[in-house]
Symmetry: C2
Subunit: 425 residues, 2 copies
């Protein structure tokens, strides 16, 4: 792993996979076909790309029961406990709106309403992560979304991974469809004979899914298009090299485009982590992926001071930030930009991926400067309310009419003036 002196040019940014023109054209064809032909188009594309002839799109209760019955009880309990932790953390995000009383009974208000229906995309095969099901569904449930739909492609055996069905079952999700790809996104956005449309689509997918989500955005809402994962570890001489190296590799094993960075004030730690990364890489099942990531994007920066190091973290705005320093809590208060912060050596980043309760859907590629991890706010909308009594109207109408006329909008002024006093009330 390269060891560099820290300067101001640090960056996490990597080229994003934007898809090519041919892929976009394919996606647009699929979207149009599903919009026009509904289920028939969804089934045709599923046959073409997944190699599966579906009689019925929907997963039956028997299929869910079968997945649950064959599932490891200890893992089932682990998933249940993780779900409870995630629910506990997200419950505190629930909001109720507010009212601002004005004179005479007039008031302003903000009302919070959950979305009616949300669709979750779950990738198939080896990329099927039950933890993603928990992280995407629970904030929507806490928000109060009544209908949560789940789509995921099936393997050649016609089945979805048992673990994702189990995760859905634990959360009480029963509307599950055996479809994936752009056709699944189209079905969720536009609806078909069997699938009612949703208002928002979340969840990761391949480039066709990502392109389809971009295309239907506006028709429905989508979550962020997440980039490859990142970790930045901020450590001083109190850090243990083997632990930090393991944490760096836990991100690097995700994807060759993943990015793992250590920023430290300790020369010794920098050397030791570099050595540990190499040592642990050699024993890692996903060595090839992790090695490519480390070689391409992995960096160890040595800072002259904690102040300089923290400044660099704020420039990076990493998705995941571990702070393993003598004053981790105090140092964390100086962080302005990070998706998620893990404090101290016992808060290894995978703790948050699976179990602690915070969300693992987080802003990547330095977008933590302005974006947040998935949360309950993403599944509600806010409506403002204005109630003016006659008295409040009478007092303010001349001001409002003047402001409207200043902007050249006479119709606005007249609308306000059209009230009571024109009738001699």
């Amino acid at each position: 792993m390269n060891i560099l002196n820290l300067n101001d040019d640090v960056s996490l940014k990597r080229p994003l996979e934007g898809g090519n023109e041919a892929q976009l054209q394919t996606v647009r064809e699929v979207l149009q076909a599903v919009r026009e032909q509904g289920d028939a188009a969804v089934k045709a594309y599923t046959a073409k790309w997944d190699g599966i002839e579906l009689d019925s799109l929907r997963v039956t209760q028997e299929e869910i029961d079968e997945a649950v019955a064959g599932f490891d009880p200890q893992l089932y309990a682990d998933l249940e406990e993780a779900a409870a932790n995630i629910r506990l953390y997200h419950e505190a995000q629930k909001r109720t709106g507010y009212e601002v009383p004005l004179q005479d009974g007039s008031y302003l208000a903000q009302r919070i309403t959950p979305l009616d229906a949300v669709g979750l995309y779950v990738p198939g095969g080896t990329a099927a992560y039950p933890s993603s099901v928990l992280m995407n569904v629970i904030p929507a449930q806490v928000a109060g979304v009544e209908r949560i739909v789940f789509v995921s492609p099936v393997s050649k055996d016609g089945k979805q991974p048992a673990a994702v069905l189990v995760a859905a079952h634990i959360l009480g999700i029963t509307e599950i469809y055996k479809i994936g790809g752009a056709q699944a996104i189209a079905a969720l956005a536009y609806g078909t004979e069997t699938i009612a449309p949703v208002d928002k689509i979340t969840g990761p997918g391949n480039i066709f899914v990502a392109l389809a989500k971009r295309e239907v955005f506006g028709e429905v809402d989508i979550d962020m298009i997440a980039g490859p994962s990142e970790i930045c570890v901020l450590a001083d001489e109190t850090g243990y090299a083997d632990e930090i190296a393991a944490d760096l590799l836990s991100q690097a094993e995700h994807d060759v485009m993943a990015c793992a960075v250590l920023i430290t004030t300790s020369d010794d730690l920098a050397d030791a982590v570099a050595a540990e990364v190499e040592k642990q890489l050699q024993k890692l099942p996903r060595e090839a992926i992790a090695r490519k990531s480390i070689e391409t994007f992995g960096r160890i920066y040595v800072a002259e001071s904690m102040e300089q190091a923290i400044k660099a973290v704020n420039t990076l705005a990493p998705e995941h930030l571990e702070i393993i320093t003598a004053n981790a809590e105090a140092d964390s208060q100086k962080i302005r930009h990070a998706g998620a912060i893990f404090l101290g050596r016992y808060s290894s980043e995978p703790v948050g991926d699976y179990f602690a309760g915070t969300n693992h859907v987080l802003p990547t590629n330095s977008t933590a400067r302005f974006a947040s991890g998935l949360n309950v706010d993403d599944f509600v909308k806010k409506t403002s309310v204005v109630y003016y009594t006659k008295e409040t109207w009478a007092q303010n109408a001349p001001k409002i009419a003047r402001l409207a006329r200043m902007e050249g909008l006479e119709g606005h002024a007249r609308a306000v003036e059209a009230r009571g006093w024109k009738k001699g009330e």
Copy 2:
């Protein structure tokens, strides 16, 4: 105005101006030039398109003072009062994050941090609305954003409209640049020698501005790309036709693509409003625009019941909803989808455009199903925090490692297991 029986096929959706390939190509050229050449490119495009040779991009304090000195004192006071009302309403949206204590001093937390820097685009010429300045800037100020930059093109006289400078002055905004178009968006997103980059760009603009905002999204955040304005009036027999007609026209005068709809349970009101709209149209300064809007998109729907009417409103998900019924407050509680609600006959929609305190940047084109008006949340981001003590780690590490291995991510499991117990602590 057409009077129709209400059925389930109501829709507010209109084709969105997406720009053509040539416009997109132009915008991409501008973005690249500004990215590479900074101020020089900004000045060159300003000379080319605005016909203005700028020595300095920034508005001087003298120019601001001059605009303020020549401004109508009553309008100044009106703007000040509107700003105070807007601040009052938005202050209640400010949030502080939370902490969830776990065992042993472990905890989870959510921290809320304002964005560092925000840029507001204000269109030039006749579309320069000081009310937009208030509506875009105040939520950012309440959020705690430290740097708020304001860009607006100049007219042939080299000046920006006095009213927008005055609005900026009232809010204490002093970093103002005399630039517009795609080059201004580029300068805000990438930065130049004189303009430091921002994290988010808000505010309306022409098609080049809208395309440029879409292109820089990801590099920075943007607000929604707002479509043409809409109003839906829900009224029973208690409504006054002249008032409702005036309110419909106040939206129709914005834009030929604007949409004004009345849904009523009263046949008599339907007829009376149709007649009033025609009568008032003939005297409206912006008659041509409003008439085109009314003819193309204006509709009066007669509903068989208030229940049916409310269902239709929820299908429309209008930007602005006026409820002028005998039980307006109770009826409003049944509305699930609307950008802003105005209750009763004295709460004419322009009250909210200018003065009441709620925001006038609202979701259009039925996106109120999932989107909200501009608010303080749009200018903060949320960071999650996990702090596990050794005890909490020890208790949960086996579960986390099992979940990671279930997903085939051995490196994640090892990272969690790399802690204390491997050292015999």
